[in-house]
């Protein structure tokens, strides 16, 4: 029988390293993918994920066992991502090169005519990721997070709201606003 999150946290608080390791094992994929999908490739995801877990362990005594542990960890990750993107927004954004425009057009082709192959190649998946990242640059940090949690991580609105510390309605508005802005961005790519 799997030990509950609350019991694991209680053991980790007593200094049980095995329990701490189990907590990380359970939620490392969640944290890695929030960071990866929000910030995109080319960032030091491992270092950031490590910082998130260390922050989590430092504040472990403040954990409320009535709340899901994954929401709390996702919230720390979400705050870290928003801080990172705010820092990065101070730097000038790269302009889209002709080569990238060509790549985006070919992605559209791929979507229209997927062909007989099952799934995308790694290179095509990487290109999808790059195009999505590029398009998401126009979103505000919080709208971007709501969109990533809902549309990429596939969480429901209640979870998005709990992670972002907002109401469900606010989460819905953020996702819808993000979709609208992304539609406008992608219109340029597809024209």
């Amino acid at each position: 029988m799997q030990i509950s999150d609350a019991e694991l946290v209680a053991q980790a608080l007593k200094g049980d390293r095995g329990a701490a390791e189990e907590v990380v094992s359970r939620y490392q994929r969640l944290v890695f993918n929030i960071l990866y999908h929000y910030l995109g490739p080319g960032n030091d995801i491992e270092d950031l994920a490590q910082d998130i877990f260390l922050k989590f362990f430092k504040n472990l005594e403040r954990y409320d066992p009535k709340r899901p542990l994954n929401h709390w960890l996702a919230r720390i990750a979400s705050n870290q991502c928003i801080d990172e993107i705010r820092k990065r927004k101070k730097n000038p954004v790269q302009l889209e090169s002709d080569l990238e425009i060509e790549e985006n057009r070919s992605l559209e082709e791929l979507w229209r005519n997927p062909g007989p192959a099952l799934g995308l190649s790694d290179a095509d998946a990487e290109r999808c990721m790059k195009l999505l990242q590029k398009s998401m640059e126009v979103l505000s940090p919080k709208d971007r997070m709501a969109f990533v949690l809902r549309e990429v991580q596939d969480l429901d609105y209640g979870e998005v709201a709990a992670i972002m510390g907002s109401s469900e309605l606010a989460a819905r508005i953020r996702v819808s606003r993000a979709r609208k802005r992304l539609r406008q961005e992608l219109e340029g790519v597809m024209a």
């Binding site: 200094g15 390293r17 095995g18 701490a20 390791e21 189990e22 990380v24 094992s25 490392q28 994929r29 890695f32 993918n33 960071l35 990866y36 999908h37 995801i45 491992e46 994920a49 490590q50 877990f53 260390l54 362990f57 430092k58 992605l107 559209e108 979507w111 995308l120 790694d122 095509d124 998946a125 990487e126 999808c128 990721m129 195009l131 999505l132 549309e151 990429v152 979709r179 992304l182 539609r183 992608l186 219109e187 597809m190």
Partner: protein, 115 residues
């Protein structure tokens, strides 16, 4: 126009569904647990936040008091009177009468030099 909007929505869905996922590296969990273990607060850091803030203040206060006592009263330290403060003061002698002095100076019979 409506068709285009639906097309874009579909394309957006295609993009979000196609993004790759990131797998954590091997031993990530044990590495993090080890670091968290090393960074566990030692005993005085486990005090309440009030105590944590008060402790350095208390230490600084002791240091400043010691420094001030040296700066403001250097003579006491240099002349050794600091030490004297801790020596018990001798009792003052009662006033002495002339008879007492004489009787102390003139030997008595018991010392074998009497008249």
């Amino acid at each position: 126009m409506k068709k285009l909007k639906r097309d874009i929505d579909d394309f957006l869905r295609f993009l979000t569904a196609s993004v790759p996922t990131k797998e954590p590296p091997a031993f990530f969990a044990s590495k993090v647990a080890h670091r968290a273990d090393l960074e566990r607060p030692i005993f005085f850091l486990q005090l309440s936040s009030f105590a944590r803030r008060a402790l350095p203040l208390l230490v600084s206060l002791c240091f400043v008091t010691l420094l001030l006592s040296y700066v403001l009263a250097p003579a006491d330290w240099e002349n050794g009177s600091y030490v004297e403060l801790f020596v018990e003061q001798e009792e003052e002698m009662e006033p002495v009468t002339v008879e007492e002095v004489l009787s102390a100076l003139i030997p008595t019979d018991s010392e074998g030099v009497g008249p």
